[in-house]
């Protein structure tokens, strides 16, 4: 670059431009590789489970229990699927009211330190290992009443509660203050305002959050190992007894050496992924206007 360069020349003579563009291209490529690897892993898992699962799955898989001899072919995971629905259903019944209540407290009622503490420790509770949750419920419940589907529901409720509370809190926060002021100014009480104005307004987001929590609970295995225990052989629909769940059944079949049992495991994994993905997709569809975080 010379001192007398005209702008025309200066434009093109900005040195190091080539190096900068190359670096930009290289870094952009690296970033794209990161996304490609993440999506590649996703595709690999889904396609692999899909291929192994579809070669086994059939309508009778969903309506029959495993054969008495694990080495025998055929049979299905009916007991596990039914068990999962019951255990997760009860857990949802416990977690949703508690989670929504906690969120109402944090957004509409709470003040000062307690409110801050509940928000903070709710986030912390999301990160607690679920195996620890399982051990906790074992200590509180199973040592007194034995292994049961209900014990598993309690454990899953502890897993779901903070997720429900978090999303509900975020949704309530999006309810415009003017709506509350309007309601209060008309002479409505706080509880009326919350129940008739805030909750209905936030409902789509709350449902989305709830469904994502259900999806998460459907796939949980570790805490159920310590509470529900599993029951591969027959159908047990009474949650006060040892039950089977889909996730436990996949686990136990996966780690046996029997090829036929593993084959059933793949079909089970496909079923579980289908349930979870459908729940997630429907939740996202309903909540597409609201950003729901679930981490």
């Amino acid at each position: 670059m010379t001192d007398v360069a005209l702008p025309a020349a200066r434009f093109r003579q900005r040195p190091a431009l080539r190096r900068r563009r190359t670096k930009n291209a290289v870094m952009t490529a690296l970033l794209l590789v990161a996304v490609a690897l993440a999506l590649g892993a996703l595709a690999w898992v889904l396609v692999y489970v899909g291929i192994r699962g579809f070669s086994v799955i059939s309508p009778s898989f969903l309506t029959h229990n495993p054969p008495g001899n694990p080495a025998a072919p055929g049979g299905g995971f009916f007991n596990g699927i039914a068990g999962s629905l019951i255990v997760v259903g009860i857990a949802t019944g416990i977690a949703v009211p508690l989670g929504v209540g906690a969120a109402i407290y944090v957004v509409e009622y709470g003040r000062g330190r307690l409110r801050g503490a509940i928000r903070f420790f709710n986030d912390v509770l999301i990160g607690i290992p679920t195996i620890v949750t399982g051990a906790f419920v074992y200590a509180v419940w199973v040592t007194r009443f034995g292994f049961s589907g209900f014990a598993g529901s309690i454990a899953l409720a502890v897993v779901m509660l903070p997720l429900v509370a978090r999303t509900t809190e975020e949704m309530l926060r999006l309810v415009p203050t003017e709506l509350r002021e309007g309601s209060l100014a008309l002479g409505a009480t706080r509880s009326q305002t919350v129940l008739r104005i805030c909750l209905p307004t936030a409902l789509p987001g709350i449902i989305t959050g709830g469904m994502l929590a259900v999806a998460r609970a459907m796939g949980e295995t570790a805490p159920l190992l310590l509470t529900v225990l599993g029951n591969d052989l027959f159908t047990q629909l009474n949650p006060l007894h040892r039950m089977e769940t889909l996730s436990l059944q996949i686990f136990s079949n996966a780690v046996t050496g029997y090829e036929q049992a593993q084959a059933r495991g793949w079909a089970g994994a496909l079923t579980l992924i289908a349930i979870v993905l459908i729940l997630t997709a429907v939740a996202r569809f309903f909540g597409r206007r609201v950003q729901v975080e679930n981490v």
Partner: protein, 337 residues
């Protein structure tokens, strides 16, 4: 999520509107409702506190018998030694599980953090606008796949795929004296490394989701300042996006770490559950704090075995509490910078 932003009725009532004439009964119903939601809020705190208390209570006999810190200073875990009695029970040292948890989490983090940061940057700043949302949903989908499915897949799909690579490493780098020790063979498929790899895939979407929010909060005028100086996109990312996001990335990584530390079923399926001692090679079998609980819990009948598993659970809870509390503090500070 804005950290301290006051919302809701509580905020309005700090500047109360004159509301005339509330009836006694309405006020009663109102306070019952208020008390009820306060109680549910308290459940969160109660559950956490009860977790600590119950795990300590269950582990207490073992802690008393062996000494509070003895378990975390020994790596002899031998529940199946035959000679055990109540007065001379088997040894239950848990250092090898702590080692397994730290090592697998570390492997997971080393792989997942850069990939997650990269993926998040693509979603916020690189990809064409109309692809950003779908990309973001797809990466989120990685978090929706259940743990047991990852474990199953790891066992049957991932292990055969990585075996040639690992065999090559163990037969070359692994044979070098001293520095080759952590890479030594033989490779049985299930290993610390395999578990770390599966963990990486599982925590990637979690870290990416937090990073995405952090990057998205970069003010537009700072990005424009960089671009107006002639910065390329990467230079814009480096000078305007990343410096601000530093604590957010750390917090996101800590959240990922918290998940990695506690992840159980997938790890149990691909780590080999070798509980006896620390294996020096990352390609050898091992166990983590969570995997040993999952693996032995329902079969723990020897004296102090179950109690010792609760001791493991207690330490796992402590680690998870510390990591997660740190993470939330850092993330909140990072986002509201």
């Amino acid at each position: 999520m804005s950290p301290a932003s006051a919302g809701g009725i509580a905020a309005i009532e700090r500047h109360p509107l004159p509301i005339a004439l509330r009836g006694e009964r309405r006020r009663l119903g109102d306070s019952v409702f208020g008390a009820a939601v306060a109680l549910t809020g308290g459940v969160v705190l109660l559950v956490l506190a009860a977790m600590v208390v119950f795990l300590v209570l269950q582990g207490l006999p073992a802690m008393r018998h062996y000494g509070f810190f003895s378990s975390i200073t020994s790596q002899r875990w031998a529940p199946s030694e035959a000679s055990a009695t109540l007065s001379t029970p088997n040894p239950y040292g848990i250092v090898q599980f702590i080692y397994g948890t730290v090592l697998t989490s570390l492997i997971g983090m080393v792989i997942a953090v850069p990939l997650a940061v990269g993926a998040a940057l693509v979603i916020t700043d690189v990809a064409p606008r109309r692809l950003r949302r779908p990309l973001s949903s797809l990466v989120d989908l990685l978090a929706a796949v259940p743990s047991v499915v990852y474990g199953f897949w790891g066992l049957f799909a991932l292990i055969p795929a990585i075996r040639p690579v690992v065999d090559f490493i163990t037969s070359t780098l692994g044979t070098v004296p001293v520095i080759g020790v952590p890479f030594g063979g033989p490779f049985f498929g299930v290993s610390y490394f395999t578990a770390g790899l599966v963990l990486a895939i599982m925590i990637l979407p979690i870290i990416a989701a937090v990073c995405r929010e952090v990057f998205r909060s970069t003010p537009r005028n700072e990005k424009e300042a960089a671009v107006a100086l002639g910065a390329t996109r990467w230079e814009m990312i480096r000078i305007a996006v990343l410096p601000r996001a530093r604590s957010g990335i750390v917090g996101a990584s800590l959240i990922g770490l918290g998940r990695a530390v506690g992840e159980t079923i997938a790890v149990t399926m691909v780590i080999g559950n070798a509980v006896l001692h620390i294996n020096p090679s990352i390609f050898d079998q091992g166990a983590t704090m969570s995997s040993v609980i999952a693996n032995e819990f329902t079969e723990a009948t020897e004296p102090f075995h179950l109690e010792s598993l609760f001791v493991v659970g207690f330490w796992l809870l402590i680690v998870a509490l510390v990591v997660n509390m740190l993470a939330r503090v850092v993330v909140r500070r990072g986002v509201s910078l």
